[in-house]
């Protein structure tokens, strides 16, 4: 690292590591409940495990983004973070709000709004916390003289993500209106402004790992985020087909959401081409794996598996089935999970001065989690296709079809175990790095692309 204050990033990443383990634990509780082993039902009914699984996912990814920003912004703008103590406070507060929310989910304190289950009272604390974070990031950029495109795209993405949280906080008596605005948060996050954050982090990693000229990388970054908004904004319509909104969304949502994979294809081609073009080879090969991995797997999970059910004619039958869960897992993991792991893998040696990267631990972590996730997605796909065929096409009753899905849930449990072993190895390697050290300042040059 270049600056002392970049050390804050470590704590954001540590929080991510802790929360992903909890998230996976609740994932297993859900899978076993589906299999009929619901001994925890009294204390952790399915809606509790579901809310914890999804909200921890969002919080560990946001924490990963925050860590990325705390590391990247000083580096890109040549300036220490302003008020580093506040940054520690901000992360601690995020952890506390997260814990309160998760505990609350066990006591029926929540809102029944998929992905936005955090109660409104806590939403205000989230907003204050995020404002604090943005104050530190934007304040640092403001004070610094240097403002690179990469840093700006990343910051605009973070700011826009915060603003888009607000429409999800308005109360509507009409359930369909509530649903309409819920997508302003959920869809415009993952298929809009989070892609800006993804593009920014990816561009930073490619600049560092391939040594390709910044101007070239940043030019293509604009094209990719341009494609994102060109398709993704009106693409929101793919959630308005069958939820009480007018039928013009079938045409608009259908056409524009079918274009959304272009942005993800752009990311994949961008990363692969820069990797080929780069004359330097960074010694941290595992970071290169994760970086190319996120670009390619996001195209598969978000782009291709998204396309698979986005046309209204198809979605009429797949809407609200395990086909959605299949897509949700690979898209979230490929685009945002692997992205957070990529930046952590790149940053850890620089924060701690220890070169624990090309060891077998980190390479097993990468491959086991990738293979495990692909297996999980195959299991969800088998469930999805079966459910659509039996329930939606042949008209069997919901609960009768669920009984038919059990074998696939066993496959899910096995493949999720492989995935989880990969994640645990990763976390173990993370712990072995130890704490960030001041002595690591300036040592980055030693690791630079050679």
């Amino acid at each position: 690292m270049k600056y002392k204050t970049q050390k804050v990033a470590y704590w954001a990443f540590a929080l991510s590591m802790l929360l992903i383990i909890l998230q996976l634990t609740y994932g297993f509780i859900q899978a076993f409940a589906h299999l009929g082993y619901d001994g925890l039902h009294e204390w952790i009914p399915f809606n509790t495990s579901m809310a914890v699984h999804k909200n921890l996912l969002v919080v560990w990814i946001l924490s990963g983004f925050m860590g990325a920003a705390y590391y990247i912004i000083p580096d890109e703008s040549d300036h220490e973070l302003i008020f580093p103590k506040l940054a520690y406070l901000q992360l601690a507060a995020l952890a506390v709000v997260g814990v309160i929310a998760v505990v609350g989910f066990h006591f029926n304190w929540w809102e029944g709004r998929k992905f936005l289950e955090i109660p409104r009272e806590l939403d205000f604390l989230v907003v204050v916390d995020v404002l604090l974070f943005l104050f530190i990031i934007l304040g640092t950029l403001w004070k610094a003289k240097k403002r690179t495109t990469t840093a700006m795209i990343l910051s605009v993405g973070l700011l826009a993500a915060a603003l888009l949280y607000l429409p999800g906080m308005i109360w509507f008596d009409n359930h369909a209106l509530d649903s309409f605005f819920r997508w302003w948060v959920v869809h415009l996050w993952v298929e809009g402004v989070w892609e800006l954050i993804m593009g920014g982090i990816l561009a930073y990693l490619l600049i560092k790992l391939t040594g390709v000229d910044r101007e070239v990388i940043e030019k293509w970054l604009y094209v990719i985020v341009g494609l994102t908004f060109l398709s993704g904004i009106l693409g929101t319509g793919h959630h308005y087909y069958y939820t009480g909104a007018p039928s013009y969304w079938l045409i608009i949502g259908g056409i524009f959401s079918a274009l959304e994979p272009l942005a993800f294809m752009g990311m994949a081609l961008f990363a692969l081409n820069m990797y080929k073009k780069g004359e330097k080879r960074h010694p941290n090969k595992t970071a290169i794996n994760w970086t190319l991995g996120t670009a390619i797997v996001s195209f598969a999970g978000a782009g291709l598996l998204g396309l698979a059910h986005t046309l209204p004619q198809v979605n009429l039958y797949t809407h609200g089935t395990f086909v959605t869960a299949m897509h949700g897992h690979l898209a979230f993991w490929g685009a945002y999970g692997m992205l957070v792991f990529a930046i952590i893998t790149y940053v850890m040696p620089n924060l701690t001065g220890r070169k624990l990267y090309n060891n077998s631990l980190s390479s097993y972590a990468f491959w086991l989690s990738l293979i495990g996730m692909l297996g999980m997605v195959a299991a969800f796909a088998a469930m999805g296709v079966t459910q659509v065929a039996l329930e939606r096409r042949l008209g069997m009753a919901f609960m009768d079809v669920q009984a038919e899905l059990k074998p696939h849930f066993w496959v899910l449990v096995i493949t999720a175990s492989i995935f989880t072993i990969g994640i645990l190895l990763y976390v173990w390697n993370f712990i072995k790095f130890g704490l960030p050290k001041d002595e690591a300042i300036g040592m980055e040059d030693k690791f630079q692309a050679i």
Binding site: P45, R113, D173, H175, F229, Y242, P246, G320, D400
Partner: protein, 144 residues
Amino acid sequence: MLSKKQALLFFLGGTIMFSIIFIALSIDTVAKGIPQHTHEENMTKAVVAGRVLWDENNCMGCHTLMGEGAYYAPELTKVYDRQGPDVIKAILTSKVPWAPHGRKMVAYGFSDQEAENLIAFFKWIGEIDLNGYPAPPPLKNKLK
């Protein structure tokens, strides 16, 4: 070749243009489309009270409604037609977990009034114009 400046203009131009279109369509949807499709005039006090219960208890964490939610328990958009008010009332007021197929629901033990409100909510949801969802199963008649 494309310059960085042109790339920036492409990004800004596209974003501004499509944001404006999106907001214009959203205004139409919120002001006209959704109130019409959902028959907002039928949204009685009981319906709204039912919706509050639906929200407070996170029923969506097991069920789907209008295809949104979790895939653990039956889709409820048309439950009013499917099961009728009496069965639904029995399920919602039950003090033991409802589980005729072995998979447990939470035993809410709602009062009669609360159950009536949720039933009114389901009735209202079932009448929304959902552009053809849920579709009648197209292959049902092919089975003998």
